[in-house]
Symmetry: C2
Subunit: 313 residues, 2 copies
Amino acid sequence: MTDAESSRGVRLVVVGSIGLDTIETRFAKRDEILGGSVSYACMASQLFAPSGMVGVVGDDFPETYTELYQRAGIDLAGLQRVAGRTFRWSGVYEDDMINRRTLSTELNVFETFLPELPETYRQAPFFLLGNISPGLQLHVLNQAESPRFVAADTMNLWIDTARDELQEVISRVHLLTLNDEEARLLTGKHNLLDCADDILAAGPQFVVIKKGEHGAMLLGKNGIFLAPAFPVRAVCDPTGAGDSFAGGFMGMLARDDELSDNHVRRALLYGSVVASFGVEAFSLDRLQALTHSDVEARLDELRRMTMTGLSAT
Amino acid sequence: MTDAESSRGVRLVVVGSIGLDTIETRFAKRDEILGGSVSYACMASQLFAPSGMVGVVGDDFPETYTELYQRAGIDLAGLQRVAGRTFRWSGVYEDDMINRRTLSTELNVFETFLPELPETYRQAPFFLLGNISPGLQLHVLNQAESPRFVAADTMNLWIDTARDELQEVISRVHLLTLNDEEARLLTGKHNLLDCADDILAAGPQFVVIKKGEHGAMLLGKNGIFLAPAFPVRAVCDPTGAGDSFAGGFMGMLARDDELSDNHVRRALLYGSVVASFGVEAFSLDRLQALTHSDVEARLDELRRMTMTGLSAT
């Protein structure tokens, strides 16, 4: 099977990092488990729509991890395997399971990564530019021939070190996602509605401000949508929650191929629910076993926890 | 009109502090404005149900402030006027309009305050024990003859300094409200669901964990309810937001005289909306002008921002 054949059906192209993560929480420690933004995002999106992964690994990347992607059905035509060591990250979560301290970062093969899209990916309608440098995000965007909807994620590092390129990304995407502190850092405003105004003025149709355990806000020209986070009792490892949120969201959009406000809002709820599963285990352990009925059941549970569940009296 | 006559119709008794607040934000400063937990809570609850105020002021308390309570229709039979200076607090909000630093606290007449309920208050069905020492909360509770529903608010100060009395309060009320950090401080747990379990095990039917701009969670034996906060663009002064939230909530419960899960959840949304108005101005400036149609309009807006507003497709 050639790359072109295997990736013919890709509806959503996702680019991001692939890493071997060493993670310690108050409950457990895991060494060199599969991580990275594109791993989480693709595993989430593939549940809803055929997804193609754009990333890089070294020659030490365990075959079992590649097989895990394959078993999920993720298209790997855009996955580069090069000589050298795979990107590695290690960190420790504080007792609150929210704040974390990075112990070490080894860029390795990621340092010279240049994301090249297979021919078939270039015509895909949906793109998720996961959390990598804005320069690489632009490089991917430049290869997209006629994208219908492009979402980009970013973080404080790029706001601090690559603001001009990030501004170009923002001006060219349909949706930007970032967390509340990053929205404040990017705009210099405090009130999140003011932050959103500034970001929307720079081009995107939508901005999603992520607030972790507090959910997310979608803001656009048709108003605000508040997506609650599903309250998770057993948070095992929050790594990748933002990525699986974005992946689940974009997967649903790509599945329905519909961009009405109603669809965008609904997709956000799916992203939120998928992310809530992801944090219940290390790495992709929970996401890889996730079924549609798991997702629908939790979405129903979330409905019962919100205004939707109230009778009109 | 005697006290007994005026307070015949009181459905909800609210106890708490009354203060003259000096408040500075990045936008403005106000000197000796009307504040205190019972001021905010009663102004909010009176919109929905006849409320009686239990508190203390000194002989320097401005007549205009008493008139403001009266114009709102709040029953003042439980308001003690004694010789001395009124309680005073002053603080500065940080630029985020969330964190604040206390500059000074003068207890004054509050130091020897002993809340005595007028005879007619003792038979009231609903009680809100606002944020004062657990000892005073118990003193009020001991005078209630047959309360149907009692809610208590508390704060870190009492968790640190009066834990035993607070535990007694918790064991005797139907609902406890506190913020997320206080829930963690009280229980020593991190996950808010675990915190809620511990608190519920100590007696109350419900616990409300307040998360400020992120909304609130209601937890009880019939599950979780997530009450969103209405996103406010122009936060002028967040002082008293938790009190007007609790007041609006208890006012709605007292109005409907119904304690089904559905009513409790709905009342929480009213509390959330009332609080969102309160922070748009200093002191009670916005709350005193609030109408039912203001509240219903914002509640509709909130519905459109949440899952309730989604069509089923």
